[in-house]
Amino acid sequence: MPTLRIGAGSAWWGDRIEPARQNAEHGNLDYLCFETMAEATVSAAQVRKRRDPSFPGYDTYLDDRMRAVLPGCLKRDTRIITNQGWINPDGAALRIVEHLREHGAKGKKVAAVSGSLITELARHLDGTILENGAPVSSIAGDLISAEAYLGAEPIVEALKAGADIVVTGRVADPSLFLAPLMFEFGWAASDHVRLGQGSGLGHLLECGAQVTGGYFADPGFKDVPAPWDLAFPIAEVEPDGSAVITKVAGTGGAVNRMTVTEQMLYEVHDPANYITPDVVVDFTTAVLEQVAPDRLRVSRIGGKSRTPTLKVSMGCMEGFIGEDMFFYAGPGALRRAQLAKRILEERFRIVNLVADDLRIDFLGVNAIHGDASPVDGPEPYEIAVRVAARTKSREEAAKVGREIDGMAVSGVGMTGKRVPHQERTREIIGVWSTLVPRERVPHSIVWYES
């Protein structure tokens, strides 16, 4: 079995699209995999669907992504695996079929994997919420959506049945990349060692450019060539799971020990026990070797047997945030900002703002690192005052904007203020997690053909 070439097409919904086209056309790929779902993507999609029934419920950039990559993928018979299905994998598959027909591709098989959406089941789960130990039933009434993170199995099943394109809802990010390795190399679901290596590679690829020099540059300390033209990564994988991480020649960015190490630990807690639906990955045995410029060999990532449960992500209606900003500049900017803060605190007391949390930050002073910011720095020349409150009702959240409006004529001298055209209150979709026995989450596959 020759080396398998797998490329990344996106790291999230809003990712750049051009590097996916680049991988499809110049990556010489066997598989192109798209990850488009952040933690809150599905609950946000559910909220939008309730407001706008015509919203199809899949990746809003699906058309752009398919137009960009289908010519390259069809030319080379590159298979596509994507979780752009969100809350409507079948709708996404149908739309992909339309794109295939527009490109004159006949007889291509598109598999839509469903089963991750378990909102009704979640309302009746008797488990506990991982973050706070409370029973799941305590949030059942506010639940908008719940999704189990499916593993690689349904994708492998679809590939075995001849799928050219597999479109899914919520699937754990590394599983999107592990599935083609299991299928092509015939790895068993019980082969912890290879699954560990394969899921580890998936974790390196799932965040797109984060392993090819994106989200990395720190001038003078970590320089990145042509960061405006970053490529998405490609893994050249051997049948034993060892792989070289690389990118299309001539693109910007870098693949080296540092970029790969940063991505290896990104969003990981215990590096010896990174839990995925397919396997528990052990990064503490990994060996990294730079074999050529922008070619890093990764081997010996370890694995332990999978857990009996799947993680479930639950989105809940939890209230509102009101937020706005105004500005000071010139000598004494900080002094005036501090008085503005005092005025607002008193005003919120007078209008009886009922908030679960309130922040008044001085941008340029303490907005990012809070109390951990140095206090003895030189006085800043300009400051934006940012006010945010978390409340139970939209009416309470709106008090933030109302009081800041008042500052325009009743506040501190030389207050700069935006015209409040933008929406200053927004709904909060809180995300909670729980576990569900995997046998309670059956999947289904529906087939479409161009």
Binding site: A40, Y215, D218, T261, L265, Y266, H369, G370, A372, A389
Partner: protein, 114 residues
């Protein structure tokens, strides 16, 4: 010599719910024992003062010359609930680059930047 951590290690943070993980990776293997010895979970949490409210656990990945700090309750309730301007805590890792670390003189030529 005492230097800022930015000359010794690079960092990246990631979020899961209300928990942030901040990986601190040595630029050179020689620096890793210094990190292990001096950048304890206690000192890490102390450095972040009120910005990290919950428990901090330190994991060691010797093969990567990296420490991974897992900070609970660091993200103001998580991305959608947080009132922080940096609601994912993506920039949270940058603060620790200001931590001061003692480096033996003979490693001076390995230090970055500055």
């Amino acid at each position: 010599m005492r230097v800022k951590l930015e000359r010794v290690a690079h960092v990246r943070s990631g979020d899961k719910g209300n928990t942030s993980n901040i990986a601190v990776m040595a630029y050179h293997d020689e620096f890793y024992p210094l990190l292990k010895q001096q950048l304890t979970a206690e000192r890490f949490k102390e450095f972040y003062r009120g910005a990290i409210k919950g428990a901090v656990t330190r994991y060691e990945a010797d093969n990567l010359a990296a420490l991974n700090f897992v900070a609970e309750g660091a993200l103001g309730g998580g991305v959608s609930r947080s009132l922080s301007l940096d609601n994912y805590g993506k920039a949270l890792s940058a603060a620790i680059l200001g931590f001061e670390i003692e480096v033996p003189e003979q490693y001076g030529n390995l230090l970055r930047g500055g």
